[in-house]
């Protein structure tokens, strides 16, 4: 029973992905000018961003709880979830650049959402640099936790709120929010999209779990 709880989510994630991958290629998709078949990238590029936000969200939860009641375990959790979130973020930007090259004509444009997402990833990169600059353990954990909260709020603002204020090439900004425009097939894309988000979040948790265990073992070794 305990084994199912421990590993069940991993099996679920794999099974969902094995369903998502064929459906992503052969499923019915909304037909759009400019995008043509590349709209299938929705199942990869956008899913990466959703997973990233959730990973950073879990990380900030542990940071906030660490500020309320300090514990080394919470700090490790915050760090490793931020690591996984960073990985998803880089994947999101790279997939976005590839997608943009073929649909918009250039891998990068002077677009608010692009600049905002690059800036927030840089803010998180600075988080890791900050962690490496503080020597005292207690100070480091506390400073990192404070910065993590700051970075997450900046992420939400730069990627979520600012693009809505200004014009943007991205769908759903400077226009109506969400993928409403692509849903003229009454949900045939949502059936693949939503499980994919769940699967990638679970995969992210799995990777974070492995990293946390590695880190805990490393720290235990150092304390000997």
């Amino acid at each position: 029973m305990k084994a199912i709880l421990k590993h069940g989510y991993k099996v679920l994630a794999v099974l969902i992905m094995l369903y998502v991958i064929p459906m992503a290629w052969t499923g019915e998709v909304s037909v759009q000018v400019i995008l043509h078949e590349t709209i299938r990238n929705l199942y990869w590029h956008v899913v990466m961003w959703f997973a990233m936000i959730l990973m950073f969200g879990i990380s900030v939860y542990y940071s906030a709880s660490h500020l309320a009641e300090p514990s080394e375990r919470k700090d490790i959790y915050a760090l490793e979830f931020a690591n996984v979130g960073m990985m998803f973020g880089i994947a999101g930007i790279v997939t976005g650049m590839i997608w943009a090259q073929f649909t918009w004509g250039a891998p990068w444009t002077n677009d608010t959402k692009l600049n905002g997402s690059a800036a927030s990833l840089l803010i998180y990169a600075a988080y890791f640099i900050l962690r490496n600059s503080v020597q005292d353990r207690v100070k480091r954990e506390k400073t990192a936790a404070v910065y993590n909260i700051f970075a997450f709020v900046m992420l939400l603002i730069l990627v979520g709120i600012m693009p809505r204020l200004k014009d943007s090439l991205h769908p759903g900004n400077g226009g109506n929010p969400g993928f409403g425009n692509y849903d003229d097939l009454k949900g045939s894309m949502a059936v693949v999209f939503r499980p994919a988000v769940l699967a990638w979040i679970l995969i992210g948790i799995w990777i974070a779990n492995i990293r946390i265990r590695i880190k805990t073992l490393q720290l235990k070794k150092e304390q000997w």
Binding site: L67, N115, G116, A119, S120, L122, I123, A125, A126, I129, L130, S133, V134, Q135, V138, K139, K142, T143, A145, V146, Y147, I149, F150, V153, M154, I157, L158, M162, L165, K166
Partner: protein, 218 residues
């Protein structure tokens, strides 16, 4: 509470104006840049060049000015502050100090630029609003970041690393709005950029209010 903020602010300003380094070095930097630009480029022909040069000079002056906000405080001094004032009061005083410094820098830089390199600004009220909001935003955000970086062992090195990503969107909005002011666009078209700049200010204050107490305790 306001009295304490005012007293702390006065202390910082008095220290600033008393020392020979500090404000004068920043002014020298700003004026020196103007001079070098004048020597090499002369009066720029187009507004956007003027804009770019202006923002480069302003950026470096403001960043340098706020960088030293927490730098010179030793830990024993901090313990003294800890006993006499709330952490929010300390950070607010520091931010207001940053505001004052940056406004002086802005006025001097703009004056120098306008005198020596020509005044390209067509929509003056918009330009004033944009540059004030952005220099204040830089000041407020940088005060918080310098508070965070003062915890590390290499504060001067880590500060630009932390500050650059955060200030990037602020600069984008500021430069766009300023170039619109130079071209003489109306207020209404730039409301999004102005809203962003205002947002940065508000955010910096909010973050300082909520997060600084945790930093202060160590």
């Amino acid at each position: 509470m306001i009295q304490r903020i005012y007293i702390l602010l006065q202390k910082d300003l008095r220290l600033e104006f008393r020392s020979k380094t500090g404000l004068s070095s920043l002014l020298m930097y700003a004026l020196g840049s103007v001079f070098i630009i004048y020597m090499s480029v002369g009066e720029p022909e187009q507004g956007f060049i003027w804009n770019a040069l202006f923002w480069i000079t302003l950026l470096y002056s403001c960043v340098n000015s706020v960088m030293r906000a927490f730098y010179y405080e030793t830990s024993s001094l901090r313990l003294y502050y800890y006993q006499i004032a709330h952490p929010q009061e300390v950070i607010f005083a520091k931010q207001l100090y940053g505001y004052v410094l940056n406004t002086i820098l802005l006025a001097v830089s703009f004056g120098a630029f306008a005198l020596v390199l020509g005044n390209f600004v067509q929509n003056m009220p918009l330009f004033v609003l944009v540059s004030l909001l952005s220099t204040w935003g830089i000041g407020a955000m940088l005060t918080l970041i310098s508070a965070i970086s003062s915890q590390t062992n290499n504060a001067a090195g880590i500060l630009p690393v932390l500050a650059f990503p955060v200030l990037l969107p602020l600069f984008l909005s500021a430069i766009k709005a300023a170039s619109a002011a130079i071209d003489g666009e109306a207020f209404a078209q730039q409301w999004a950029n102005i809203a962003v700049l205002g947002l940065f200010n508000i955010l910096a204050w909010l973050f300082s209010y909520l997060l600084f107490p945790y930093l202060w305790r160590s």
